[in-house]
Symmetry: C2
Subunit: 487 residues, 2 copies
């Protein structure tokens, strides 16, 4: 039975991968490499998914649980996102009570809603009760009202209150991101007191890296790394072993700014304070990493004209709506460019070669502009492009455009000459190329900087403006010069 | 003296920002918001830079040190990157012995080389000696031979050996990323033994989050979080409080795969092992975060056709070279598209309106294709697009293309009719629009997937292929249909 063999093999692979005591724990060598997409062995391999779907098809609950047990919640979530809705529903119903709350946390939004609606109420309640309050917040914040209530109702009173309080902070704020469980001690304690306190406390958070020192009014004033605490004598004052570079965040602060600070200053955890600077929670680097990852994704998608969060599991109609606005903007700008061409209809009618060559000039300008604007948008996001160096950068981009422009002008001049046998046409396209590539460098830098200054996200809007400029300048320079020189 | 006032104000702002004991520590409200680029107050503000440059101009070392003292090394590095080479040189020479090794770590490559060449040998040696061995590795790995040797010579023998050993691992591998200082204890110890061991050890790493348990052959088998250690009684066996989801990485593994695993499985730290599975180091989440950030940057830049690492501080000639290949590829593809147009010269000559409208069809296809390919490239990178769902995703993208295609077909049909008064022209452009947007969805998904399967980075190469397809299909469909219907 080849089918069975395959299932067994997959199973062993996963066991080796998950079993820490196994001598061969390095996942690299265990991962199957079947279709090139899973070459590093971390993601689920196709055979596991096939085996799981086979267990679902044959209604074999025992086998399904056995196959799923070694998988990380993040991988289970990925698998649920990759299979179709019909299989997903059957899998969830068969898996039943084994369904873990963490899987919900790992799911993308659209699939998450679907999965919640499929889960039986008691399974959902049990799954949610396992989660920390900050994970519940993350889970429910974008759900519909009825689903949100179903989950909140499953929580014990104290936790429900904590979640409600977190939801009172603005969306995408530090307050939503933080965990409320903190380890804080008075600033005048010594190491021994802090260790005894932690030994006695029943509800220490799952993960924490610093002990926060607070003054009598609960203002965080410094923090001590656990490793340093471990290494110090009991009599050592905590205030003598605090970390440099301590900083706090306000609960209303944007999570993107928090993530930027974690990345820029290599923070591991940082306290969150309310408007009166009192300690209300703590943000850890793993939360910041997730935000950073999301922001990067948004940046990439925005640069490509895909607005809002977007994933493969969104419904067709949602995806269509998300792609529409940018295409609509592009249609308007393309028509603008066409209006420029229309001014030269008479020229084109006399010299059809112009129609053949004009897209080349526009296309080169568009690509050079996209290069410049992408570098500019990234540099603005990482705060490397500021008022202090903007003019130097613009000069530099124009110079790069000029050099590449001249090279491609020579190439295209020769192509134009050979193809159409007209030296004049060669001069025209060469001149237009230089002009358009310099303009591309200029527009590709100035437009994102200008958008940022007026408060518009440069990642979202720069592309449309820059390619409009390069299209219009490209067509105008090429056809205009042609009109003067050729006719 | 308005100049002096400004300096003083900046100084206060920075002090408030850096002073944790200040009641107003939240940086958000303190940050000046002068030109829109620094609205969140984290980055250096312009006034600080101005004040620092004024101190350099007036050769006022005391003032310079006072202004720089509260700044984080990462911010000092950012500032050095933003000012020009002349100011940079004078600043470094004036700052002299205060120059911190961490600033070097935070600098981008091209500026780093320049700064190292400006630093006096004794200042450089002192700066480098302050750094951990993994930071030194990070610092020297891409330097020229002479600069690398200058730095290695400044190190004590033991550390030089450690750095040399790390450099023996492949570039961008886990071995280069890891720190060699680990905290490991035998797997059969209890909490009390571990704590006593740490108390006694002199050279605990600056940052560590787990105590690694090893078997007698130094194979890591599990790890315990420091917080859990703190919370447990001395008699508790370490093996009873280990963390689930323990995994190790091989030293030769690609750092990108390591960063992916940290992000996917929310790891905080993980041991690194050699080919015999023996513990050789540990990677922490902050290292992984930096790699993830770099990889994202690379992805964004590659999608825009900027090859290799690229930053604002590169020399013009390097930037020009980096932009050139993609523009060259684009020239070839643009000429291919022009060859398609050339086939229809006779048609265009009879009906010049076609030349006016044809860029619209190609441009819409190019944009829709870029949307699809960006989503596909991101999904491949995050392993959300795999063999299990590729066909469903392709169907979905084509459907999205069809719906948007029909909408824009109606719009363009009407525009064509009104503008040129020809219903037939309206039909032609409408039909070409639908065809090109469906093809854009198809090509935008299939091309990245196909490139990934044959081992080519889809982020780098997809754009050229997809826009070539949409250009050619766009021109061919529009002009071809026009030739059949209009003439």
């Amino acid at each position: 039975m080849s089918d069975d063999d395959e299932v067994k093999k997959t199973d062993q692979t996963l066991a080796a991968d998950a079993d820490a005591e196994d001598g061969d724990a390095a996942p690299k060598e265990d991962g199957p490499d079947e279709d090139g997409l899973e070459e590093d062995g971390y993601s689920l391999d196709r055979r596991t998914i096939t085996a799981i779907l086979y267990a679902v098809d044959t209604d074999d609950r025992e086998k399904l649980v056995e196959l799923m047990e070694p998988l990380h919640a993040a991988d289970i979530a990925d698998m649920l996102e990759q299979i179709n809705a019909y299989d997903r529903r059957r899998l969830i119903l068969l898996y039943d009570k084994e369904f873990d709350g963490e899987i919900l946390s790992e799911l993308g939004e659209s699939i998450r809603e679907e999965v919640i609606s499929v889960l039986k109420p008691d399974v959902l309640a049990e799954a949610v009760r396992e989660l920390d309050s900050d994970d519940v917040v993350d889970l429910v914040e974008y759900l519909d009202e009825p689903q949100q209530e179903a989950i909140l109702d499953a929580l014990p009173d104290s936790e429900r209150a904590a979640v409600a309080q977190a939801l009172a902070y603005p969306e995408e704020s530090a307050g939503r991101l933080m965990q409320r469980e903190v380890v804080a001690v008075p600033e005048d304690w010594n190491v021994g007191q802090a260790i005894d306190y932690m030994r006695e406390r029943e509800d220490l958070p799952e993960q924490f890296y610093h002990v926060i020192l607070t003054d009598p009014r609960m203002h965080p004033v410094a923090h001590v790394m656990l490793g340093k605490l471990m290494a110090s004598r009991r009599a050592t004052l905590l205030s003598d072993i605090t970390e440099p570079g301590f900083r706090t965040f306000e609960a209303t602060e944007d999570e993107g700014d928090v993530a930027y600070a974690f990345n820029q200053y290599h923070l591991i955890s940082a306290p969150v304070v309310d408007a009166e600077d009192r300690l209300v929670g703590v943000i850890t680097i793993d939360d910041a990493m997730i935000v950073l990852d999301e922001e990067h994704d948004e940046d990439i998608l925005r640069l490509a004209g895909v607005s809002e969060e977007s994933s493969l599991t969104d419904r067709v109609i949602d995806t269509t709506k998300r792609r529409f606005p940018w295409l609509a903007v592009n249609l308007v700008t393309a028509i603008l460019a066409s209006l420029v061409i229309a001014q030269f209809e008479a020229t084109i009618a006399q010299f059809v070669a112009l129609a053949v060559l004009m897209p080349i000039v526009a296309s080169m300008g568009g690509n050079a502009g996209t290069q410049s604007l992408t570098v500019a948008v990234r540099s603005i996001a990482t705060k490397d492009l500021t008022g202090a160096n903007v003019w130097r950068v613009i000069r530099r981009e124009c110079l790069v455009g000029l050099i590449n422009g001249v090279i491609f002008a020579v190439v295209m001049g020769i192509v134009g000459l050979i193809w159409f046998g007209s030296p004049a046409l060669g001069y025209v396209i060469a001149a237009a190329m230089v002009i358009n590539l310099v303009v591309a460098g200029l527009a590709g830098t100035m437009i994102p900087v200008a958008l940022e200054r007026v408060g518009v996200d440069p990642a979202l809007a720069s592309g449309a403006f820059v390619t409009t400029v390069t299209d219009i300048v490209g067509f105008f320079a090429f056809l205009g010069l042609a009109g003067v020189i050729l006719l």
